[in-house]
Symmetry: C2
Subunit: 417 residues, 2 copies
């Protein structure tokens, strides 16, 4: 018997319980082990729900039960969840978690603790929800040097950005709609300011580059300042605006950021809409590989948790995932990195100045730059996309452009090539 | 020591050799096993190449060497490759292959043979090249009931279709370009008639539905009859034409086909261009999941082979992949399945008949049907998309439409919803 306890009967935890209740028999047959759910621990009373036969509110019952071989940690927050993971691992139980805060903050400690106790610590559901990503990165692509990752790792912000463009909404209205649809929290900061995606890209980068990347080093810029007109300008020029959680592994160190960027429509990431997530990985042998699916939601996330449980069952890769426990990555800003930039400008007395602005755009930003014209709805707003330049060059050029034209730079975004 | 032999030093085999030569040290350290390449067997003389230190043309040297623990089978064709797999497995060596003909034809026999000899038979590279797909299907998504797969599984045909649309080419010219670019064979039949994709979708369906699907049961329709105008009609209506290898697992049996279909631009598969492949999997818990990457090519495919080697090394999932060795799937045509259909028609004396054809389209095919107008380049060609109907209803409605209008149906494709 291989009995399982779930700590936290919220959205993901109850989803894991659903799958284990429905599928334990089939999984036991397929993988030739006798698995079943024994406990769902929650402080809320679950009497009268389908989880009642498993429900307990006493963690000592769970930790005192020798039949429990694997503990699923699906409660949110950092401290209590991390303590549950530690205690479970020290008591010789495997731990599977969907809690990205725990993985990003103490993944290293917990991986070492798992190794010491000859059990496993797995967290496929912590980044990309239902998308198989951590296991492919760790195993299937293991012969590659992965050198770049660009992901849409937060469903809430992708939903907001998609609605803003498709329904011509302001950020505030789109956020309210997302809250009404249950896709955004009352306090949306973790999503819209990029902190959730920052943890996920730190986790994926640690695994891919095989060195620990601290989520606190991720440069974060959220989507609060995107306006509808930005989407219109971008679409007109062949781009979509997406909140990109990205990193690159260079000789000098790792660059890592979460920020809205313009993505060309020829890039698969531009086609990722609504609450869907995707991760585009560049490997030395495979070239571009993309994995796409539901990055959140009860059953998609729960199915990733159950995938980890199966991994433990089948002894697949008895080793821990190495990324976290190796040397720390040096996180840098790559000053030599070049990019095109999108700039939204405000201009007064715009009438008939279009030719002048067009000429100034090319003069200041190079032959590959293009002036995108004024907004259809507001004649005082215009936008341009520069030619390739470094961040330092860009600042200088933009300052020149504003001096020449009298325009004021309102908003700047990087453009993915 | 864990020494490896490669049988077949062609494109994929030499790619595997490249990776093993470059990465054996790093992989040995990462996975804590001492692996290295010992032989590359080929009938061609490899003296003077970088593979010379490993080269042999004597298969008895390979099979007689007890240091060889794993044999990579990268030669093409069925009979010799299958014999090599059998002999390797019987002699207690693990086998990793990229040969989809072998897997589709005798995958069941070889899986059983591996089980008998307590070794493993793996074939990640046989479908989807460098895309991690077989392992995610088998493991990560194992708690899901997968009920539908739609894939772009042949890079050659996707390249041809992409060029036809983007460069306004006929099939014949696009095929010649693909041959010149090295993306299509002199005899392109296996690709353009769908037989290559048929083997791949049979493999993926067997794994996903956990029952053996015979590739000989796959209904195959290639892309030879697609004309440029079809792309133009489809694009105008918000679709892209893709060669879709698809299957569904229903209560009554498995439906499976390879055929060009219209894919709505809101579907991620519509964004897959050039030689790239992608597989969109529908699971009961995960919903839609898509994996995208290079479906062919030396190093992408080789990296999938090396992924399997690592899988053997790390004992990940010591079990064989079960799909092939279970009961055979019943392959059916689902007569109740409904779909929209695209029809290209030829009409004489088309002038000013547009209103009549539009009215007849709605009258015959329902309110959701739409007449797409005549081709810009050829006034005698027009197209329409029907409302949802079964195949039988469609035939009847189309016959009525042709009777009423005098139009002749030239080409018919299913439309993905």
């Amino acid at each position: 018997m291989f009995k399982i306890a779930i700590l936290g009967g919220g959205v993901v935890g109850s989803g894991v319980a659903d799958i284990l209740i429905d599928k334990s028999k089939a999984l036991s047959e397929r993988f030739n082990k006798d698995i079943s759910l024994k406990y769902v621990l929650d402080i809320r009373d679950m009497t009268g729900t389908k989880y009642e036969p498993y429900y307990t509110n006493d963690k000592e019952v769970v930790f005192g039960d020798d039949e429990i071989k694997l503990i699923v940690v699906t409660i949110g927050g950092l401290d209590l969840a991390a303590d549950f993971c530690r205690r479970a691992l020290k008591s010789g139980r495997h731990v599977v978690t969907s809690n990205k805060e725990v993985v990003a903050a103490v993944g290293c400690e917990l991986t070492l603790l798992a190794d010491e106790n000859n059990v496993r610590f797995l967290y496929e559901a912590s980044a990309g929800g239902g998308i198989p990503i951590i296991r492919p990165l760790n195993l299937c692509l293991a012969s590659n040097d992965i050198y770049e990752i660009n992901g849409i790792l937060n469903g809430t912000t992708n939903y907001i950005l998609t609605c803003m463009y498709q329904d011509r909404l302001s950020f505030d209205v789109a956020l309210k709609n997302a809250q009404a649809a249950g896709y955004a929290e009352a306090n949306p900061s973790a999503d819209v300011d990029g902190f959730d995606a920052a943890r996920k890209i730190a986790i994926l980068s640690s695994i891919s580059y095989n060195k620990f990347v601290d989520y606190k080093d991720v440069k974060c810029m959220g989507i609060r300042d995107v306006i509808y007109d930005d989407h219109e300008f971008a679409a007109g020029a062949g781009y979509a605006i997406k909140l990109i959680a990205g990193s690159r592994n260079t000789d000098k160190g790792v660059t890592i950021s979460v920020e809205p960027k313009l993505v060309p429509k020829t890039n698969m990431l531009a086609a990722v809409n609504s609450v869907y997530n995707a991760v585009l990985v560049k490997g030395s042998y495979t070239g571009d590989t993309l994995m796409y699916g539901q990055g959140a939601g009860k059953h998609p996330t729960a199915s990733a948790v159950v995938g980890d449980i199966i991994d433990v069952l089948t002894d697949a890769c008895k080793q821990s995932i190495p990324g976290f426990v190796n040397s720390n990555a040096v996180v840098i800003e790559d000053k030599e990195e070049t990019s095109k930039y999108y700039v939204r400008i405000s201009i007064e007395n715009h009438d008939n100045e279009s030719d002048e602005l067009k000429a100034a755009t090319v003069k200041c930003f190079g032959n590959g730059a293009s002036f995108l014209g004024a907004s259809l709805s507001n004649n005082n707003i215009a936008a341009l996309i520069t030619d390739m330049c470094t961040a330092e060059e860009f600042d200088k050029k933009l300052s020149d452009f504003c001096d020449i034209t009298g325009a004021k730079a309102e908003y700047k975004l990087k453009v993915i090539n």
